[in-house]
């Protein structure tokens, strides 16, 4: 973006090396980019919030395109479940900090750019300080508190926010934070309250989806830097991968928006976890207190021949991955299938991690069942503590 180079004229790069001309030749021969555009890219500074599913294509394409300075913010560590979609990482990266692993991959892709790995969680305390060194912020996070934080910090600093989010087969992309455009709070003044967010059972994401949505974010970022084309400002692009359809909706700047409206009521960053409430994504601990049994206790009671009825409250497709030979009634179907259970028998309910089954136990106790226990830690803990042959997912 021109703004940076104008505000820091001393640091403006005015030419490309012979190697860079070769590297970027397919850009340079396009009139829409050319030498002028490539120098804009080289002088641009883009901060990626999250180096996961959306951050992977973002980092790869922006580094390859020659964006001069890339900041990578992530506090997480690469694990095996990331590799299905986070294509920056290889199997040998498992266990490494994501920001460091991504920097190594991107530096290999393009050694001529500056890449800053920021191994930290974005917070209200560090956001403004981190953002001020960059021209464009790209939101590739996976939770509501960070999305509101990124939005508010961008509005306070007057920086564009290239937004993308995904759910299973659906994606949303737009550009917030431009002077005449809307912000995230214009679109969604408030986050969903706890309990109305789809649970992990309905979660999951097809690996290619963040690849597509993140690539669209990368394209919008490059267009902002070049100052060309029609940006997604004021338009929400919806992508349905199953139906393979793109649609777009008009996004309007809300004149009464508390963040970017003329009578702004928010003038500084806030506690975004409090603002969003505690919900499943951030707090995996069960919300309800119910009687529990540990995997080891369950194992010894089963070995002893105790009459225990194992109730599996996961979804059928999860049962296919692994199971404890329990009776399957997904949590959502429990109220209408409760007659399948015998309240005179002792019931042990389980799910993947113990959260859904805690809700099931709570429901059954309120429905009059007296002998119901929750398997603490679910099938994950069973795999850790009793039977490592049971796969974790």
């Amino acid at each position: 973006m021109a703004t940076t180079t104008e505000t820091q004229p001393g640091r403006k790069v005015v030419g490309l090396s012979k190697e860079e001309i070769l590297r970027y030749s397919r850009h340079l021969i396009m009139p829409e980019v050319g030498m002028e555009g490539q120098l804009k890219l080289k002088n641009a500074k883009v901060l990626l919030i999250g180096t996961g599913g959306l951050g992977a294509p973002l980092g790869l394409y922006l580094a390859a395109a020659g964006v001069g300075k890339l900041g990578l913010v992530d506090f997480d560590v690469v694990d095996f479940t990331n590799l299905q979609r986070q294509v920056t990482f290889g199997t040998s990266d498992v266990g490494k900090p994501k920001s460091q692993a991504a920097r190594a991959r991107l530096a290999n892709l393009n050694p001529d750019i500056q890449i800053d790995a920021i191994e930290a969680q974005l917070t209200s305390t560090n956001a403004l300080e981190l953002f001020k060194d960059y021209d464009i912020i790209v939101d590739g996070t996976d939770n509501f508190p960070t999305r509101y934080l990124v939005n508010d910090a961008c509005i306070l600093l007057g920086k564009p926010n290239v937004y993308g989010s995904i759910f299973r087969f659906e994606g949303q992309v737009t550009v917030f934070g431009m002077p005449d455009g809307p912000c995230y709070r214009c679109l969604y003044p408030e986050p969903p309250p706890p309990g109305l967010v789809p649970s992990c059972a309905e979660g999951g994401v097809l690996g290619v989806l963040p690849g597509i949505v993140g690539s669209i974010q990368a394209m919008e970022t490059i267009k902002l830097i070049l100052g060309s084309g029609d940006s997604l400002i004021g338009r929400l692009l919806l992508f349905d991968a199953l139906g393979m359809r793109f649609r777009e909706l008009k996004l309007r700047k809300n004149p009464k928006c508390p963040m970017c409206g003329s009578n702004r009521t928010i003038h500084k960053l806030m506690d975004y976890y409090e603002f969003c409430g505690v919900r499943g994504e951030e707090a995996p601990a069960p919300n309800v207190q119910v009687p529990e049994i540990t995997p080891r206790e369950l194992k010894s009671r089963l070995d002893r021949g105790d009459d225990l009825f194992i109730l599996d409250v996961r979804e059928p497709h999860e049962f296919q991955i692994c199971n404890l030979k329990g009776h399957l009634i997904p949590l959502g179907e429990l109220p209408r299938r409760v007659h399948e259970l015998d309240s005179s028998r002792e019931i042990v309910a389980h799910c993947r991690s113990g959260k859904r089954s805690a809700e099931a136990v709570d429901f059954l106790r309120k429905a009059g069942f007296r002998k119901v226990l929750n398997l603490k830690g679910g099938i994950l803990a069973w795999s850790d503590e009793v039977d490592p042959s049971v796969p974790k997912y």
């Binding site: 759910f167 299973r168 949303q172 909706l249």
Partner: protein, 94 residues
């Protein structure tokens, strides 16, 4: 006058797993009311206890946000598409 209501992925489990449904309705409110009558589980995801649309659910007629039209009284005509667009945050961590 049939209008098509598009149901987003996160809400499909509460709508018989359908991705859309058609109703005869003259306004957005009427269409949503028919939708939540047919799929009662959807109601709490779309409306507050006092019957107002939730602030994290946006509703569009074709490509226009009903907040900038006549809200739930926005008239619909034959062939219109009503889209329910909830906020989604990204993947699932836990």
């Amino acid at each position: 006058m049939p209008v098509k209501v598009m149901i987003p992925t996160p809400l499909r489990p509460y709508a018989g797993k359908r991705d859309s449904a058609e109703f005869d309705a003259g306004t957005v409110g009427e269409a949503l009311s028919r939708l939540t009558t047919q799929y009662a589980d959807l109601r709490k995801h779309l409306f507050t206890e006092d019957g107002r649309l939730r602030s994290f659910v946006n509703v569009y007629v074709n490509d226009e946000d009903i907040r900038y039209l006549a809200k739930e009284n926005t008239a619909t005509k034959d062939g219109d598409t009503i889209s329910i667009i909830p906020s989604i945050a990204g993947g699932c961590r836990s």
